[in-house]
Symmetry: C2
Subunit: 460 residues, 2 copies
């Protein structure tokens, strides 16, 4: 029977001195006159298996011709390794070629630039770096589900195609069945009634407003799905398609919201450290020195809580020449986020933001100037989550929507939540790729999404 | 401290005869002269809590005015209940109104039609039926993740926006940043180079082809995400937006694929039965009589495996007047699926389908006529999953794509998987809503998706 490398590592004592069969790929191949060494991976775990074969095998000459990248099946004896950093190795008794690979295979055992690997995105999970990053992505996804499900949250699949630009959170992509060169137009207006949904449909920018409808039925809910921004931004942290987690909790105020944000983040970070030790060690060694220490420190820290006003006070008193002057009532810049996390030497919740720079649905504080919103700033990453208590007061919500000139009819269902057994409720949003950049040390969002969509890029 | 109804039920012995506080909603309210009974739910579990209050409470007159749908906070004593089907009840010591609800609240404690509730989709999770269905949806989602993650599969987020109609699986929605009344056209051609992705972009119909790239790096992978079909179908089982699970496994042939399909389905069904007992009991009582028995039977059955040819033989020999005659080499109809599962009194894998009615990527059998494909037919639901061994042979894949007149350049990366260490690999797809229809007994796909997208419907 064929076993996974993962199981072999897990139960190495059981398999030691036994004959086993493995199937996977040649990642490196060093040939000597009487011996050969195959660096083998089947992708079930980050760690490779060293295979040794010698010229006593009748297929010795054939094996020596096997190229890097080839798929092979190996029967062999598990023996303890003379090398210190290697638990065991496999003495081959039979090596079969399952799938050849040409010599011009793009992924050779050497350092490739990340730019080159983006062009070969369909092959890059076969490199150590991306093998690690995308397993961390998978394990972190599961940690998020596990955190919420263990605590009784209902997973809510927010609609992807939507007819409302609820939050005004960003530019939206249009979705249509029309051939773009044959859009029916009458009296200078698009005849949306002839399109699939008989309306101007778009890709969602956030599932939050819909998630609130679930919070007011299940008390605790969360989304985890793709969201979209039609923005022509070519930065390291922007993509047009990315995944978001948006929990929403009824009978929960901003304080409770922050407790959940802190607990959830620590849980996910710890889960990844515990379940991806080899991947994290590799990333610590080759991507961000001190990564594991940074993450362990986060898990063991107490997050500071200060108001936006206090933050500006600290920034204004700082002996720093700012590119952007910190001003009361205004937003803060990247340099300010960095300073404030260094100032407190750890994660900082900044609360009570000026209402004019925040969304319409955030709860107005008694001062009539600020809202019960929070951003979580994390050392080395800046803002990683944002949340708020939602305005539960029907009249105040209406007033704010009027002030902002919003279409109340389109959101009547959302407003009605305040009329039909409304209650204090809060939630937050976390961009999953932001979290992954923080978790892996990989700086570019293009390198934490399997097939990134950015302006001009829609390959695969 | 406020506790969740779920925790109260779980540890009722601990809380019996104690004073507790709960927050949630009035689902029903029966008033008597000296007493009142509130049917309370906080949404953390399917079971409600019966609250009794009497006229010794100073706010008795106020409480009597509280409408169905209102949010309340109740402090009370947990006491054992005189009723047989009720473990406990809560003797109120204080009842506070947190959020009022008008008398014309649409969700009253009576039977509403499903059509009416679709119009009130944002309120329907507050009804017993949808409270049950959407929790089952959440728990089944988690069961799927747990099944695959426990077995070392890597969760792969397939791209949603794509430039290739890989599978030809169905009509696709266009995605664009252009205002539809201002699409730039030059020489009668859309100037896609001016659009965000500089190409004709669409919403994915399947993540399978991309998932194969992960299988050939991680051995075991799965997708779980939204997929789209731009089809104008107004049936009970079609939606334009739905979620799919698409596992893909390297070094796995069709036999292995079927083992995983069978094990996974049984696991998910059993997980839901174990973790949603109240929901399933309700659905069994009010939606599909015998639902639990049907599902338990599936868990304990051995799935039959027969070929498409054998299936047609059986159908042709059957003493049935078919609407569609079963013919060798052709597809089978709903009535045939039904007959064959009844014939074997259980789930049936039908394998080795005529190549001309299946997709290009399926492995050609030695007979040159059939492909190593499989559909799983389940009693009462018909086809619930479909899978295949993928064509791993480079030359055969090229030949088949040429026969079908496909664009090889667009899929060069997919073809290259057969050149760069290719190997036997297989996978399958499961429409998540099909599974939910089977699990809940609810017949219409519109009732198992929180906010369904069907022709003409893009509300919320």
């Amino acid at each position: 029977m064929v076993i996974d490398a993962k199981d072999l590592y897990k139960e190495i004592d059981k398999y030691m001195d036994s004959e086993i069969t493995i199937e996977g790929w040649i990642r490196n191949h060093r040939k000597q006159k009487e011996f050969g060494f195959i660096d083998f991976s089947d992708g079930t775990c980050f760690d490779h298996i060293q295979i040794i074969y010698d010229n006593k095998l009748k297929e010795f000459d054939d094996i020596q011709k096997y190229h890097v990248g080839s798929a092979i099946r190996v029967k062999g004896l598990v023996v303890s390794s003379p090398k210190e950093n290697q638990k065991f190795e496999l003495q081959a008794r039979k090596v079969e070629l399952l799938g050849d690979c040409p010599e011009d295979y793009p992924i050779q055992p050497k350092k490739h630039s990340r730019e080159f690997l983006r062009e070969q995105a369909y092959l890059r999970p076969r490199t150590n770096l991306f093998q690690a990053v995308f397993r961390v992505r998978s394990v972190a996804s599961y940690a998020i589900h596990k955190y919420f499900q263990d605590r009784g949250y209902v997973y809510f699949h927010a609609p992807i195609i939507t007819a409302s630009d609820c939050e005004g959170a960003g530019e939206m992509f249009h979705v249509t069945c029309f051939d773009l060169d044959k859009v029916p137009i009458k009296d200078k207006k698009v005849e949306y009634n002839k399109d699939m949904f008989q309306t101007d449909a778009s890709l969602t920018v956030s599932g939050q407003l819909e998630a609130e409808t679930f919070a007011l039925a299940y008390k605790k809910t969360y989304t985890f799905g793709p969201t979209f921004r039609a923005e022509n931004s070519n930065t390291k942290v922007h993509a047009n398609e990315f995944w978001m987690i948006e929990p929403e909790i009824a009978f929960c105020n901003l304080e409770g919201d922050m407790e959940i944000m802190e607990e959830m983040l620590k849980y996910v970070v710890k889960y990844v450290l515990d379940n991806c030790p080899s991947e994290m060690k590799f990333l610590d060694n080759f991507v961000e020195k001190g990564l594991i220490e940074k993450l362990e420190k986060l898990v063991n820290s107490k997050f500071t809580r200060i108001t936006h006003k206090e933050t500006i006070d600290i920034l204004q008193k700082a002996d720093v020449k700012w590119e952007f002057e910190p001003i009361q009532g205004e937003d803060i810049a990247k340099e300010h986020e960095k300073y404030i996390t260094e100032y407190f030497d750890g994660p900082v919740f900044i609360t009570d933001w000026p209402k004019d720079i925040k969304a319409f649905y955030m709860k107005l504080n008694d001062d009539n100037e600020t809202v019960a919103a929070v951003d979580l700033e994390v050392p080395g990453a800046g803002e990683i989550m944002g949340g708020s208590q939602r305005e539960e007061d029907y009249d105040k919500l209406i007033k704010r929507m009027d002030e902002m000139g919003m279409d109340k009819e389109e959101l009547d269902w959302y407003i009605n939540l305040r009329k039909f057994g409304g209650c204090v409720h809060s939630g937050f949003g976390m961009g999953f790729e932001r979290l992954l950049i923080y978790l892996t040390g990989v700086e570019n969002i293009r390198d934490v999404i399997p097939y990134p969509r950015t302006p001009g890029n829609c390959e695969f």
